[in-house]
């Protein structure tokens, strides 16, 4: 009987090596950004230049991250499974859902806030397999109107009307 890849993990945990690499890359980029901060005289900075604290935190993150690929050994000794939350591949739905929401947010300046809310209330239930139109239609009309009324008329939040100029 062959072992699963998880059981074969040795000293380094493959997925966590990737996780650590991503964190190192983020830290590297952010560290570079700190070197581009405007320079100020020590007198003004009182010997604590603006990049000092962020760099200190980046060093701390890097030091902690060094332990991530080996952490599974500690969990194994405790009888925990570090992979319990990620043992299954991410299904297609979170990607599609995120994509749809991003598309709707891109559309806010054109559609306006009210139409975007309407879009969320129609498209997301349909995407998730809801086919009861008796449920979707009243929800998609009444809920955005209620939210828009509350925020726009009572809390006086300005709502983007979009190119169609649709607002309450």
């Amino acid at each position: 009987m062959s072992e699963s890849p998880r059981e074969r993990e040795g000293l380094l945990h493959t997925t966590d090596v990737v996780v650590a690499a991503v964190i190192f890359a983020i830290c590297g980029t952010l560290y570079y950004v700190t070197t581009t901060f405007d320079k100020v005289s020590n007198l003004l900075a009182q010997n604590i230049p603006p990049e000092f604290f962020p760099q200190l935190i980046i060093y701390t993150i890097v030091i902690f991250t060094l332990g991530v690929p080996f952490e599974h050994l500690l969990h194994k000794r405790r009888g925990d499974n570090i992979d319990s939350e990620r043992s299954e591949r991410i299904k297609r739905m979170p990607y599609v859902t995120a994509g749809l929401i991003i598309a709707l947010v891109v559309g806010i300046p054109y559609l306006g806030m009210l139409l975007t809310m309407f879009g969320v209330c129609v498209l997301l239930p349909l995407l998730w397999g809801e086919r009861r139109l008796k449920l979707i239609i009243p929800f998609a009309i009444l809920f955005p109107l209620a939210v828009a009324y509350l925020f726009n008329k009572i809390l006086l939040v300005y709502f983007e009307p979009g190119i169609f100029g649709i607002a309450l």
């Binding site: 901060f37 604590i48 962020p54 991410i90 739905m93 979170p94 929401i101 809310m117 929800f139 939210v147």
Partner: protein
Amino acid sequence: MEPVIEGLSLILLNPFNIMLIFGSVLIGVTVGALPGLSSPMAIALLLPFTITLDPVPAIGMMAALYCGGTFGGSITAILINAPGAPPAVATALDGYPMAKRGEAGRALGIATFSSVTGGIFSLIVFIVAAPALADVALKFRPPEYFALAVFALSMLASISGKSSLRNLIAGAFGVLLGTVGIHLTTGVERFTFGYPELTEGIAFVPVLIGLFAMGELLNQSQTLTEHYDRIRAHVTKLPGRDDLRLIWKTVLRSSGLGTFIGILPAEGSTVAAIMGYNEAKRWSKNKEQFGTGCPEGIAGPEAANNAATGGAMVPTLALGIPGSASTALILVALVMHGFRPGPFLVQQTPEFIYAIFGAMLLANIMFLGIGLAGAKLFSQVTLIPRTILWPAVVVFSMIGAYASASDILDVWIMLIAGIVGFIMKRHGFGLAPLVMGLILGSLVEESFSQSMIMYDNNFLGLFESPIVVGFFVLTFFSLFGPFMGPIVKRAFSRPDPGTEGS
């Protein structure tokens, strides 16, 4: 006595405020009862609504929602074995088996009674301890605040979640995120990437909504077809004399324990509930009945997790250090309303503290009624189709993020935070530590810079203060305690004579 009367009357003699608190408790219990929706998420979504309110009802609403949300999880934990909120995880262990054998009403009654007792116990401690702690904190200078904040961040290691290391990394990223914007001492822009909107720093509300609501939405989109088997609860009964005799010691012990855990920076209701369950089992004469529907197994975690709510308010208000993810959000709300949480808040506006106390007390009394009369109804909230519920959360998230500054950039920040939160959670990085880091970040940097200026850039100068040394010792134990335990145990355990030399 005058601030007490003034503070309590702000809540108890104002019908509008009472109505708002009742509404918040209802929302809290509903959200708590719905698996996937959590108190921090609800508080984050409530934040934009409260901007236009006066501070007392605004903060009172959030505190009431926090109490209601913590309790609400127990309803679905007992009736459908799906804890609506993480603090109710331990309640399901004995609550569901009791409900399954036809005693759902009894289980709900024990949970309600224990929750209310734990909540009120912690509020009494809160109202006594917050001013006392504020008195001590008045003596704190920047070095002491720096050491305290470092200690609070180190406590992130033990916050709920699997990995201490990943919690610390998340917390450190939160602190880093807190440095976005203009550096106070020099006026230099940091990590603004040319966006003028970022010069004042990352707006908390979009990040919080994104992490707690949008991240969870992406997670939930994978499990839309899950359904739960529901057990019917006909009548919820308060515990009778026999049950009271059995649970009163557990309730008191767990109330004390939960309050203490709540007071510890960064520890929250979930940790309190798990410890409450473990301690109830350790002290019980009926250990073997745990897991089969034992009343003490419901009373222990329920008293502890609700006691943690009042406890968590102590460091939040008296020190400005949040005691849990939910109180971190309340802290943000306080700042949004122009308060600076800490000893001066307690000293200069004590009536405000008593008003929050009044709101939480009222919330506890309200959910006693809700728990007894409406548990059956609240268990029905799980019937709301998730294909309708979650789009509503998306709408609230988008509008909530947008409303604080009427800026689309905030909606983007919310979305990015949601996607990052989803990925972080999947790989074991806690969201609460990130939020705590974000909130404590400015305090850490400010107090560190001031301390360095005080000691002429000599880091060792910090150790002149015994309080600083005390906090650093605590930090050391909080970081390395879990690793030291087994080593100390091994060093002090006697070798077994039978195996010696083998």
